[in-house]
């Protein structure tokens, strides 16, 4: 049974690393639901939240295959770990003067924010779990969605355990890569 699983992937912040990760998913036939990437508080380390539709048997293979990329420093399958999931949406809704109060009620109900008010439209921003975002979108859909963008899921485990070994930073220097022995040190610290 295929289900949606969430992986937190820490990678060395090198040019092309996103390409390597997404290429891996492509050639192994994994179906990406969403993939977000951004900097972390650690120098030269980026963090990805990857959501895949995959069965429980396939999940360890995703991890193992990711670790075959030298720039992948740490992988955590948080699908069965208590965690916080958030997504951000920005949606431009057709909102003439007549319907604007109704749209505003939807905004308030979902604790969304209005970013911009124009004569014929509102730009709304909301952050929350995917199902709340879905509900917001359904709430404003009847008024006419002019434009919309969603970030995809970002996630973090609950509790105080770090998802990535703190205190270990990539060495500074001119080396345009991580050597494998440095990587294995990092991998063993989780």
């Amino acid at each position: 049974m295929s289900m949606v699983r969430t992986f937190i992937v820490h990678v060395a912040d090198h040019p092309g690393v996103l390409n390597r990760v997404s290429s891996l998913f492509r050639r192994r036939g994994y179906n990406i639901e969403s993939l977000t990437v951004g900097h972390t508080h650690l120098q030269e380390i980026s963090r990805m939240t990857v959501v895949l539709a995959i069965d429980a048997q396939g999940a360890p293979l995703v991890e193992a295959n990711l670790y075959k990329l030298p720039e992948v420093l740490h992988v955590q399958d948080i699908s069965s770990v208590p965690s916080l999931h958030r997504e951000l949406v920005i949606v431009k809704v057709a909102a003439s003067q007549e319907v604007r109060p109704e749209v505003m009620r939807v905004v308030e109900a979902f604790r969304a924010r209005v970013l911009e008010v124009s004569a014929e439209s509102l730009v709304i921003e909301a952050t929350g779990p995917e199902d709340a975002i879905d509900s917001l979108i359904e709430g404003v859909r009847p008024y006419g969605i002019l434009e919309m963008t969603r970030t995809g899921r970002v996630a973090m485990t609950r509790g105080s355990a770090p998802g990535f070994p703190l205190g270990i930073r990539p060495p500074k220097g001119t080396a345009p890569f991580w050597s494998s022995d440095q990587l294995s040190v990092l991998r063993n610290c989780s």
Binding site: P70, S179, S180
Partner: protein
């Protein structure tokens, strides 16, 4: 101060490289210019960059080190792709170095620019684009380390022309290779205890020995393991040589063209011990009916292979040699007479395809050639095969006693592999006898490397199994496409004359009595010799597990041959 090009060669020397197989061109010119200052490197000029990668591959497989191939940007780099993919599929450690246009021109579609790191991304363990001379040394150090560590494989280093030309500080004496640290046995008490329990209680166990045996140098440990617990060993194609063919516990090759008794033993086993193999579809047949009664223990260095094709009961992760060393003392000594006796009885069945000893009826069979080659060389030559029928016949009829004595493209099935890979093997082990066994089809894909063999004056022997067809495809057409021989009949040059054109010895043999003398003449001769064996045209490889069939459902050699054997005996 050293140029990036000088640093490149000094790093290669620091990694112990003695041979580089390559082809110069515009973007790699600075490196080739600097090469003149390093006479300790023997550069072998190939005739096509694919040949360079296969040579590096053959060099690595024969010698156990890392092979190095070099090419220029653009077409030079793209010509390497097939060889890189071949090395990737067969876990062969090679480092490919390509020149790249100057860093200022990257992304401008400059002359001979191609995104080779993008192209080779899925077929390398990793690749690097180096744009500064300062990065040359640390990158090469990492590249060699990555190529040989864990599950070995190809690494590509793309170096821009300006990175080769510009200078920086480099201390040659301070360079040392990174030690291999990955692949240590990741001991897990529960998994280990379960494995020992399964092995010691199994009644019908079979070991499946793969390429990992050779890659981790676990030959001795494998023998000790098998002898102590009296467990028969079935070989994958790439595992051949990891366990002596003459050993009574060696069953032979498994899979699509494996011996019938081997496949039957696997199907009837109650425990499979997969050692450094990956349950390729060519060895399992359909997975639905694969070894249905067997528990499975997988010893593997690459975690991504566990439960990929076949669900296993126990996985022991790490270097095979380390795992076996740990397991051996805990094995109970047993003789498993009943099981071994049962398999011996299955072997009686093999006469059906055992044609090498058929009396000479005027027809020369490929099996005759391989069998006689085995006899003449006492099973001690390095054989480098191409891909197709001859490859399977070689695996069936040449009994390999020594490790690293069969070099063949298994995973990718790359036609054209044999000749260049054999040239590489000869450079890795100059004192070994090296034979190319190739079909008339595959040989024509890379036969330009005959010029390389001639220019390097190496002592190589070449056996072409010439049946006038792309034989394996023809066989599939015969079995599964109603004998419609679409695009498989093949015209070839007179290979003996071709060899002569390169200044090499060329011979032709078309009957059984010509085989032995031709082989002896080739072995006697210094320099490269080629024998064109004109064999039965529409012979097929038996047994055969059709694609998608169960492993025990084999097509057997049709009975007329058996009858011929009986009437002529």
């Amino acid at each position: 101060m050293k140029t990036g090009a000088q640093i490149l060669w000094e790093c290669l020397i620091g990694e112990g490289v003695k041979h580089v197989f390559g082809y110069p061109g515009g973007a790699i010119l600075p490196a080739y210019d600097a090469l003149c200052g390093y006479p300790e490197i023997h550069h072998v000029l190939v005739r096509h960059e694919q040949g360079a990668t296969h040579m590096a591959d053959g060099y690595a497989r024969a010698g156990g080190g890392v092979g190095v191939a070099m090419a220029t940007s653009g077409p030079g780099a793209t010509n390497m792709v097939t060889g890189i993919a071949t090395a990737m599929m067969d876990s062969s450690p090679i480092v490919c170095i390509t020149g790249q246009v100057g860093s200022k021109f990257l992304g401008t579609d400059a002359f001979q620019e191609t995104d080779i790191t993008g192209i080779t991304l899925p077929i390398t363990k990793h690749n690097y684009l180096v744009k500064r001379s300062e990065d040359v040394a640390p990158t090469l150090r990492a590249a060699f380390h990555l190529a040989r560590s864990g599950r070995p494989g190809p690494v590509l280093v793309d170096i821009t022309k300006d990175a080769q030309q510009s200078s920086c500080e480099f201390d040659r004496s301070a360079y040392s290779p990174l030690p291999v640290t990955e692949g240590k046995y990741n001991f897990d008490r529960d998994q280990y205890a379960a494995a020992i329990e399964m092995i010691n209680t199994a009644e019908r166990p079979v070991i499946l020995a793969g390429h990992g045996v050779l890659l981790s140098n676990a030959m001795e440990e494998l023998r000790e393991f098998a002898e102590r617990a009296s467990i028969p060993i079935a070989m994958t194609l790439l595992g051949i040589g990891g366990f002596a063919a003459s050993h009574p516990l060696n069953l032979g090759m498994m899979g699509m063209h494996g011996e019938a008794w081997v496949n039957h033993a696997i199907q009837e086993a109650d425990l499979l011990l997969a050692f450094g193999m990956r349950f390729d579809d060519r060895v399992t047949g359909t997975l639905k009916t694969y070894a249905p009664r067997a528990k499975k223990i997988h010893v593997e260095i690459d975690p991504a292979e566990i439960n990929k094709n076949v669900r296993v009961d126990v996985a022991l992760l790490g270097d095979l040699r380390q795992v076996l060393t740990r397991l051996i003392p805990d094995l109970e000594r047993t003789d498993r007479q009943h099981w071994l006796h049962y398999i011996d009885e299955l072997k009686g069945d093999s006469a059906v395809r055992d044609i090498q000893n058929l009396p000479d009826s005027g027809h020369l069979y490929a099996a005759h050639v391989i069998h006689d080659l085995w006899r003449e060389t006492n099973g001690n030559s390095i054989i480098v095969t191409d891909v197709g029928q001859h490859q399977m016949w070689e695996a069936q009829y040449y009994k390999h006693e020594q490790p690293r004595s069969l070099i063949t493209s298994g995973g990718l099935g790359t036609m054209g592999f044999a000749l260049p890979a054999a040239i590489g093997a000869k450079f890795a082990r100059p004192d070994a006898e090296v034979w190319v066994v190739a079909g008339d089809g595959g040989f024509q894909m890379t036969m330009s490397e005959l010029a390389t063999a001639a220019q390097e004056e190496i002592d190589l022997n070449i056996a072409i199994i010439n049946n006038g067809y792309l034989g394996m495809v023809r066989q599939w057409q015969e079995f599964f496409y109603d004998r419609r021989y679409s695009a498989t009949p093949l015209l070839s040059p007179d290979f003996a004359k071709l060899a002569e054109a390169f200044g090499l010895l060329g011979m032709t043999a078309s009957s059984r009595e010509q085989v032995g003398p031709a082989i002896r003449e080739a072995r006697k001769r210094r320099g490269t010799a080629l024998i064109n064996f004109m064999v039965e045209q529409e012979d097929s490889v038996f047994p055969m597990v059709p694609s998608g069939a169960a492993l025990h459902q084999m097509i057997r050699r049709p009975s007329p041959l058996v009858e011929t054997a009986a009437s002529e005996a």
